[in-house]
């Protein structure tokens, strides 16, 4: 009863009953099979991960090979054109910056405010549970549905038209759940003893939130905001429903101008049957990925800086 082999023989004998082979030989073969099976699946699991990572590498390589052809300073400063070498992403780049800037302007106060309310002020009752459930559900609503909502409410009912502001408001609703959930997590992570310390010094709840909880939660909140903005800048479907413009030869100068964004332009180029124009789409993707990468690098930098100060 002391070795695992004994266990296996007992188990084997119990399950398979009488057998013409001596138990030891059968056990050895069985053990060899199990070891081979272990090795086989180990290789399979490792290759699954490699498939994922490899596919990402192929995707990026493909985009960079296709995209370098037309990528130059002119690409950033030109409007789209029928001629691939003259085409550029200027309208989309400036449009994206406008839309994302305004989205951040709306999302940060609303998202962080909602998280503060839910974590620090709201009573733990059915109403809070409904809001919480609702936020979780909103995070799973397909983005094109937000496009329909934004079109019907901001573009049509509010009469804004297909302008930057309507796009930004739509994206705000789309990414709010991300910001709220991330900010709530960050606020939850602040130990209760910190709050108790503040109250013991006679601070009001609002003072505790402002001077103790928020400074501690800022790195987590920042990560959530940047994550949300990265999501927003890559969104195509709802922006198509709002803007409906794919070929725009001017860039917006204010919140009430018509606009396009980088993903819409990339979509439009990629949908062209002409291979040269598809390569222009790849150039656009490189610009989009560089913007995304810069945002994420910024997020990591901010997080590190805040964390250092805290220590």
């Amino acid at each position: 009863m002391s070795t695992t082999a004994d266990h296996n023989e007992i188990a084997e004998a119990a399950s398979s009953g009488a057998s013409p082979q001596p138990p030891r030989a059968r056990h050895d073969r069985n053990m060899r099979f199990r070891k081979v099976r272990d090795a086989f699946f180990y290789v399979l699991f490792v290759s699954s991960i490699l498939v994922g990572i490899g596919a990402l590498a192929v995707l990026l390589t493909d985009v960079f090979i296709d995209g370098f052809r037309f990528l130059d300073i002119g690409f950033l400063t030109s409007f789209p054109s029928r001629h691939p070498e003259e085409s550029g992403i200027r309208a989309g780049l400036i449009g994206s910056l406008w839309v994302i800037g305004m989205t951040a302007l709306f999302t940060i106060p609303i998202g962080v405010g909602a998280a503060i309310y839910l974590e620090e002020f709201a009573a733990d009752n059915w109403l809070k549970r409904i809001i919480q459930l609702n936020i979780a559900n909103l995070a799973g609503v397909p983005s094109i549905i937000y496009g329909l909502l934004g079109f019907a409410v901001f573009v049509t009912a509010f009469g804004l038209g297909r302008v930057v502001l309507a796009g930004a408001l739509t994206l705000t609703l789309l990414v709010l759940p991300i910001v709220i959930i991330a900010s709530q997590e960050a606020i939850k992570a602040v130990p209760d003893s910190f709050r108790a310390g503040g109250f013991a010094l006679g601070a009001t709840r609002w003072q505790v939130v402002k001077t103790i909880v928020l400074p501690q939660a800022i790195p987590g909140i920042m990560s959530g905001i940047i994550l949300a903005m990265s999501r927003a800048i890559g969104e195509s479907a709802p922006m198509i429903a709002i803007s409906a413009l794919v070929f725009l030869t001017f860039s917006p100068a204010g919140p009430f101008d018509r606009f396009t964004v980088m993903p819409i332009q990339i979509f439009n180029w990629a949908a062209e049957p002409n291979h040269d124009i598809q390569d222009v789409a790849a150039s656009g993707i490189i610009v989009l990925l560089v913007v995304l990468l810069t945002m994420n690098a910024g997020a990591i930098y901010i997080r590190n800086k805040f964390q250092k100060r805290r220590e």
């Binding site: 699991f45 994922g52 309310y117 936020i135 559900n137 094109i144 549905i145 329909l148 709220i180 479907a237």
Partner: protein, 283 residues
């Protein structure tokens, strides 16, 4: 204080607005086309004469792509999750996880581009009769997109399985693979199933991959080599098209949007119920 409360209520207002808008904007459509004909019709030709408004080809197209994506993602995602949770040393896991999560952060239009300009031409070498717009390449690339979702959520579920269960199996002489597949995976099955449902719901709502790569031919088929049209792709096509605001063609996008909203909502709710049921077991 009232401002904070309002901020929290905006999410509730958003949900109510989505439901109200989808119902209000599709009522004129359902006055013309009985809802039963819409839901059971097998022909979708809104721009032809006579026009047919049977949504099944769009639902079928969506599901065909989503099932291909789901199968791809569950095979590779689950295997990755087993490796990360049961085999990988901590250091390696901390390198691999962020790389896999990059996959979830790539904008969907990039995946659409990849499916259309890279994967489809490659697959055409294997299936020469396949046209460039097809359900297969859209589905495979979408599988790549939702794979990190399945692997992350499944891994979380597996990490939550108590160590004592593994130790018990090892003490009985089980090998590493047997512990992973016969003990940990069954114990984490709730979380794994939930991750699959949530990923499938994401696949159903995904827009740009199917718009770019799966085609624009509403086609009720189970053949992944054919061109189809997904619900989301139809909505995009119509918003970009010439359909006049207020015309029945334009109203269809809200009716189709309603089907899409209900499908994803139901799946998300089921996914969350599965998670809640399962997490009670160990806490």
């Amino acid at each position: 204080m009232w401002a904070l409360r309002l901020a929290a209520f905006i999410s509730v207002i958003t949900t109510i607005s989505i439901v109200v808008i989808l119902i209000k904007e599709s009522i004129p459509f359902f006055r013309e086309i009985p809802i039963w004909d819409f839901l059971t019709g097998t022909s979708w030709t809104p721009n032809f004469v006579p026009a047919n408004f049977g949504v099944l080809p769009l639902i079928g197209g969506t599901l065909l792509v989503a099932v291909i994506a789901g199968l791809t993602a569950v095979i590779f995602g689950l295997a990755s999750a087993i490796f990360l949770s049961e085999y990988a040393p901590d250091k390696l896991r901390r390198i691999i996880k962020p790389i896999l999560e990059i996959l979830a952060g790539v904008p969907t239009v990039v995946y659409g581009f990849f499916a259309l300009t890279f994967l489809s031409p490659q697959l055409q070498k294997i299936f020469p009769e396949m046209i460039v717009f097809n359900a297969l390449s859209a589905g495979l690339v979408m599988g790549l997109m939702i794979m990190p979702m399945i692997s992350t959520l499944s891994e979380d579920a597996m990490l939550a399985v108590p160590k004592s269960l593994r130790d018990g199996a090892y003490a009985l002489g089980a090998t590493k693979f047997e512990v992973a597949v016969k003990v940990v995976v069954p114990a984490a099955l709730g979380g794994i199933v939930a991750s699959f449902i949530l990923a499938l719901s994401r696949a159903i709502g995904e827009t740009m991959i199917v718009t770019l790569a799966a085609g624009a031919s509403p086609n009720l088929t189970f053949n992944p080599l054919e061109s189809i049209q997904a619900m989301t792709a139809y909505i995009v096509q119509t918003t970009l098209g010439e359909a006049a605001h207020g015309s029945i063609q334009f109203q269809t996008i809200f009716a189709v949007g309603m089907v899409l909203f209900v499908m994803t909502l139901v799946m998300n709710i089921i996914g969350r119920i599965v998670v809640a049921r399962w997490s009670e077991k160990y806490e």
